[in-house]
Symmetry: D2
C-alpha cells in the first residue's frame, strides 16, 4: 500500500495547470512509494476554482490560501501564483510545517528570498523551486556528460531566451495572464521570467557566477493596465543582455527579450569545453547537440542526439526510442524527483537555497542595468 | 453533470499504456460532454493485469476478454492486442453492441477486415482505428492546408518509415514485446506495422491508390522464437518498398524498414503540388515544413513551422506558443475526436471501413512483393 | 617546365562554362606536371563562340567540330554538347587519337554507348565522363568511409534528384538552354539528366545493380518547340521513380522529377549499413551526415560533418577549415584527377566503360517504365 | 577593347591567394569594361614569390614593396600583409597615386587608420577594404531586405564569430601563418581578426554603434614564438564579448573566440525587427533564414532561403538555381564591385573611411575590456 502525498495547490493559471498535470501523471509512469493525492486547490474566484478542481479531480477547493495552509490533511503546499505573493505564502507554509514547492523565480528579490530560505531551513521542511528545464531529458543528459568530465576545461557559456509576444504595443499589462508585464506583480520582466531559467541551468551546469555587466531596455514605455484601466508606465525590462564571468574562469553571454520576432520560446544554451561542446534549444527540446573533438578527425561533426532512448534520462519511463515527449514532462520528472528525494532522504534540487543564488544573480544583473557597471553577486549562503 | 463513457481495454502492452494515458488525460484538456471512466482492463496474466489496473486507476480487471465484452457496465471495447486477435474480438464486441476502438492495422488481411467492417456496420456501433499520426498537430495542419487547396494539382507523394531496432540477429521473435516479429501474430512485418501508418496518412491527405509495385526482403532469415524456444524461420518482411500511383495521377514512393541504422522511428512524408509542398517527420513531430511558390521570389524558402500556436490544430488546449507536445498527445486527440464524434453524430475517422482501404493496399503491396508485378487495389467499399 | 595539355572544347553552354572554369583554375590550386592550355573552343555560331573564347582566354575558336578534332595542336577533346551528338564526336575524336572528356550521360542509349567504349578502347586514348558529383568532397569522403569498411553489410540505398523548373506548362522545349526537354536531343528526360547522376554515384559507392522496376510520367504532354515554333508532343520523362536490387543484396529506391515544388536541385543519397549510415544532399553539398552505431550509446547521433578540413578530400588545396567551396569545384577536382591519371598511369574514373554501366541501368529503367515489369541490366563489360 | 586594370599585390599568404583567385576569375563571370591584369606580386622571399607569381600568372614579381609601389605600370596596390604593415604601405601607395585595396582590419588602431583615411582622401585615389562577407549573396540579400524596409523598427542585433583552432597550447605564435597570434603583428586577437568582420557587417546592416561594454580573455598566457624561438607572453585577446547599443536604439551582443570547440569559422548574425527577422551563418553561407510576421498565421515559420536563384544578388553570373558557390566568390564579387565603382564613379564600399568606423568600434571594445566600463565610440568622420 502506497503512502499518500497530499497536495494543496495555490493558483490555477498556466503553471497551476502544468503542475496539476504533473501530479495526475507521475504515478502512471514512475514507480514511487507515494501516491500523489490532489487534495485541494485554492484561488480567490470561487466559481473558477471549483471548475478547476472538478476538471483536474481535486477533492476540494479553497478561496483563502491561509485556510489551505492551515489544513491538516495537506502535506505539500504548491505556490503557483504571481511572484509578489511567493514570500508571504512560503513563510506561512513553512511555519505550518508543510513541504513547499514554489514557482520560479523564488521571490521578488534577494532579500525577500533570503527570508524564505531561512524559513524553510528553520522549519526543516522539504522545499523545491520549479526550474523545470533541468529535467528536460536532453538538458539532464548535458549535465551527465559534464559530470563525466567529457568537456574538460570550460571556456565559454552562452544562453538566450527569446520570445516575441509583447511586440504589439496594444497589449495591456496586469491581471490574469498578463501579470508578467506588471512590475508590481512580477518584480522584473524578462530577467526574472526568462533569464532566471537560463541562470538556474547555467549555475547547475557550469557553477557559480562572479560578476556581470548588463544592459536592459523597455521598448514599449506605457501600456494600458488591466486592473486600473489606465495607461500606466511599464516598469519591467522588455529585454536584458549581460556579460558574465563564471567562477571557473569561463566567459558567458546571456540575453533575453520578448521582442525577437520569430521566436516563441527559444531558450538555448551552449557550452564550449576544451574537449567537447554541447548545445540545446527549447524549440526542439528532445535533441541535444554534442561535438566531441576526440572523434576521429575526418568524421568529426556535431551529433544531433535524439534523446529518446531507454538509457537517456527519464526516457525508459515513457515510450520507445524515437518517440518524443514534450514540455509538460519536465514537470512530471520534477515531481518524481521531489518524491524520490523525500523517500531517499536526498533532497531534489533546486532547493530554495539554490534558487536564492539565481535570485542574487538576477539582482546583480538588474542593478548593473541601472549602474552601467560590472556588479558582483551578493551572498546567498 | 457529464455523461460517462466507460472503457474496457484489452491488452496492456505499449499500446495499452498509450491508450490508458489518453483516457486519463483527455478530460483535463478537452471540454467534452462525456467523462471517460477507466472501467476495466483485460489480459491473461492476472498479477500483471491487476498491477496495470492499479497503476492506471482502472476500477476492475478481467482475464477473459469474452467476459469483458459481456459486461453491461462498459460502453467501449478498446482492442490493443496483437493483430491476430483483432477480428475475433471485434466481431464479438460488435455483436454485444459495444463501441469499438481497434489498434492498427485493422486485421491480418483484407478478407478478415471486410468481416469486421460488416460486423460494426451491421451492429451500428461507433468504431475507429488507432492510426494516431493523423492527429499529430503538424500532420493535421498539413491536411488543413491541402483541404484549403493550397498545393494545387499534386505531382508527387513520398513516405518512409525507417527504424533500426532489429538489425541484431540475436534478437528473438515472438511473445511479449516481440510479437511484431512473429508472422503468426503480426500477419506481416513492416508493411502492417509501419507502412500501414504511411498509407493511412497518404490516403487521408492525397486520396486513393490505384496500383502498386513492391519489393520486400527478410534480411535475417531465422530467429530464436520466444514461445517455442526454437530457432524458427522468420516469416515477416523486414523491409518493403513500393511504387504507387494515386487515383489523382500523382506518383508515389513508399519505403519501410527496421534496418536503417541511425533511425529510430523516422516516419516522414512529403507531398509536392503545383503551388506548394509540405513535408514532415516524426522525429521532430512538432514541425511542419512548408514551401509556397507564391511567396515573393527572392524570399522563397521552406518554412519551418513550429506547430505550437493557439490557432494550430489542437494546440489551444495545451500550453503556450513555442512549447511542444509529444507522441502521446496524438492519442489524446484521437480520444477527444472520437468522443466529439459521438456527441455531434459525425463519426471520427478513420473508421473500420477507412482502415480497410489501408488494409487492401497493404495486401496488394505484399502480393506484389511476391508476384513481382504491379498489382491493383482490391475492393473496400 | 610543365608539359602542356591542350584542350579543345566543343560546346559553350552551361557545361562549357563549367569546364572552362575548371581548366582555368586547376593549375592555381593543384600541383600538376601539366599546364592546361585553353587551345580552342568550337560552336556553330561564330560571333558567340568568338565572344566565349575571348571571355575565357581560349587561343582560338572553330565553328566546325570536325576541324577542331583534326587539329594537331590539341590533346584533349571535351564534348559538352547535347546528348545526341556525343557518339559521333567521340568516335571521330577516338579515331583521331585524342583523349576524350565527354559530358554525361555518355550516350543516347546503351548500344550507342557500347560503340563509344569500343572506339576509345581500340584507340587506347584516355577517356572520362563528367559525372562530377563523385568529386564533391563530401561525396568523396563517403566513398572513403565505405572503402574503409565502416558501414558493414549494406541494407539500403536511396537516392533522389528533385527539381521544380519545368512545372510551368508555358515553358517551351528545344533549342539552346532547353534541349533537355526535347527527346530528340536528350534521349530521355530526368532519367538521363538526373537519375544518371544518382546511378553513377550509387554504383561507385554500392556496386552493381541487378534489376529494376520503374514508373515514369510526363505531366505536361505538349509544349511549344523552340526550333519548329509549333506545339509538339513532349517525348521525355518528366518524372521517374524506380525500385532496384543491388548485386550485394541491398534494396534501393531512386526517384527523380522536375515537378517537386521547392527543390531546385536536391540530389540526395543515403546508405544504411549494419554499423553506420551516411547521407548527403547537393543543396548543402559541403556537409556529410554520418551515423556510427559504435559510438557510445547515450551520445549517438547523426554527425553533421562540415567537410572543409585539410584532411578532407581535396580540401587542403583550397582555403581553411570552415570555409566552403561550391558546385564548380567538383569539376576542378575532376580535371585534376584526370591529369593525375595521365601522369600516374592510373586512369581517373568514371571512364566511358564505367559510364556505359550507368547507361545500361538507365536503359533498363526506361524499358521497365514501359513494360511495367522488373527488368535486368544489359551487358556492359 | 577593354581597358586594363593592373594589379600589384603585396603578400602571398592566405589572403594573397584569395585575392589572386578573385582577379583571375572576375572577368570570366562579370561583364566589365576593364580587364584585370596580374602585373606583379611582391614579398621578401624571392624563391617563394617567384613560385607564387608563376602559379598565378603574375607577369613579374618584386621583393621590395616600395619598388612595387613606384612602378609606373601598376594601377592598384593590394595590401595583403600583416596588420602592422598596412599603414606604411597605404601611405606610400596613396602618395604614389595608386588605387588601394587593403586587407582588413584597416590598421593597428584608430589613430593609425585616421592617417590612412586622410592620405587616400587627400590623394583622391579609389580605396576599399576587404571586408568580403558583405558580398556573400545571402548577406547582400539581407541588406536588400533591410533597405526595402521589411524588418521595421529594429530591436536586436546579435553576432558571433566562433573558431577553435588555438585551443592547443603547443601551437606557437608569430611568423608565417601564425602572425595573427602575435600582438606586435596583429595589434589584437579576435577583436581585429574576427569581430571586425562582425562589426563591419553590423554597421552596414544596422547603422552606427553608440557605446560598448566588453570582456576579453587570453586563455593561453604564453606560447613559443616562431621568430624569437622563445616562450613569450601572449599579447592578443583569445576571446572577446561585448554588449552594444546602436544609434537606432537596438540592443546588441557580439562575441568572438578561438576556443569554441566544434566551430571552425562560425560567423553568425541575427537581426530582429518589428515585422521580420533575418539570420545567417558562414558555415552554410548560401542560405539566409528569414521570418516574416506578415505571413498568414498558421503557416508562419523561418524560411530557409537557398540563395542561388538568378534574381538573388550576384547569382545570375554563376550557375543555375540550387547550385551553390563558396567562400572565394565573395572576393570575386568585391573585385567586380570595385571595378564597377571605378567605371560608374560610385565608389564601392567599404572605403577606408567606412573601415575606420569599424576600427574605432574595435578600439572602444578593447579599451572597455581593460577599463571594465562602457565606452563611447571615437570620432571617425
Amino acid at each position: 500500500m502506497k503512502k499518500s502525498l497530499r497536495i494543496g495547490l495555490i493558483g490555477y493559471g498556466f503553471m497551476g495547470r502544468a503542475h496539476s498535470n504533473a501530479y495526475a501523471k507521475v504515478n502512471h509512469f514512475f514507480p514511487l512509494e507515494h501516491q500523489v493525492v490532489l487534495k485541494s486547490v485554492c484561488a480567490r474566484d470561487e466559481a473558477k476554482v471549483k471548475a478547476f478542481a472538478d476538471n483536474w479531480g481535486y477533492e476540494s477547493f479553497e478561496t483563502d490560501w491561509r485556510k489551505l495552509i492551515a489544513r491538516e490533511d495537506i502535506d505539500v503546499i504548491d505556490i503557483a501564483t504571481p511572484n509578489n505573493t511567493h514570500a508571504e505564502m512560503a513563510l506561512a507554509a513553512a511555519k505550518a510545517g508543510k513541504m513547499i514547492l514554489c514557482e520560479k523565480p523564488l521571490s521578488m528579490n534577494g532579500p525577500e528570498g533570503r527570508k524564505m530560505v531561512a524559513a524553510v531551513e528553520k522549519a526543516g521542511v522539504a522545499n523545491m523551486v520549479w526550474y523545470n528545464y533541468r529535467r528536460v531529458p536532453a538538458v539532464t543528459l548535458a549535465k551527465q556528460l559534464i559530470d563525466e568530465g567529457r568537456l574538460g576545461r570550460i571556456f565559454h557559456y552562452r544562453a538566450k531566451f527569446l520570445q516575441d509576444w509583447t511586440i504589439n504595443p496594444e497589449l495591456p499589462q496586469g491581471g490574469a495572464g498578463l501579470w508578467r508585464l506588471d512590475v508590481k506583480a512580477a518584480g522584473s520582466g524578462v530577467t526574472g521570467d526568462l533569464l532566471a531559467h537560463c541562470i538556474d541551468t547555467a549555475v547547475w551546469l557550469n557553477g557559480g557566477v562572479s560578476r556581470v555587466s548588463a544592459m536592459t531596455e523597455t521598448f514599449v514605455k506605457e501600456r494600458q493596465h488591466n486592473l486600473s484601466g489606465k495607461v500606466e508606465k511599464v516598469g519591467i525590462d522588455d529585454a536584458c543582455a549581460f556579460l558574465a564571468r563564471f567562477q571557473n574562469g569561463s566567459l558567458a553571454t546571456f540575453e533575453s527579450t520578448r521582442y525577437a520576432r520569430g521566436h516563441k520560446a527559444l531558450y538555448t544554451f551552449e557550452i564550449n569545453g576544451e574537449n567537447a561542446s554541447i548545445s540545446w534549444d527549447l524549440h526542439d527540446l528532445h535533441r541535444l547537440q554534442y561535438f566531441d573533438h576526440r572523434d576521429q578527425g575526418t568524421t568529426r561533426g556535431w551529433r544531433s542526439i535524439h534523446v529518446s532512448d531507454g538509457d537517456h534520462p527519464y526516457m525508459k519511463n515513457w515510450w520507445v526510442p524515437g518517440l518524443q515527449i514534450g514540455y509538460e514532462h519536465s514537470f512530471v520528472h520534477q515531481v518524481a524527483d521531489f518524491i524520490q528525494g523525500i523517500e531517499t532522504g536526498k533532497p531534489a534540487r533546486p532547493t530554495f537555497r539554490d534558487a536564492l543564488e539565481t535570485q542574487m544573480i538576477c539582482d546583480a544583473v538588474l542593478k548593473s542595468g541601472k549602474t552601467h557597471k560590472w556588479e558582483k553577486i551578493g551572498k546567498f549562503k
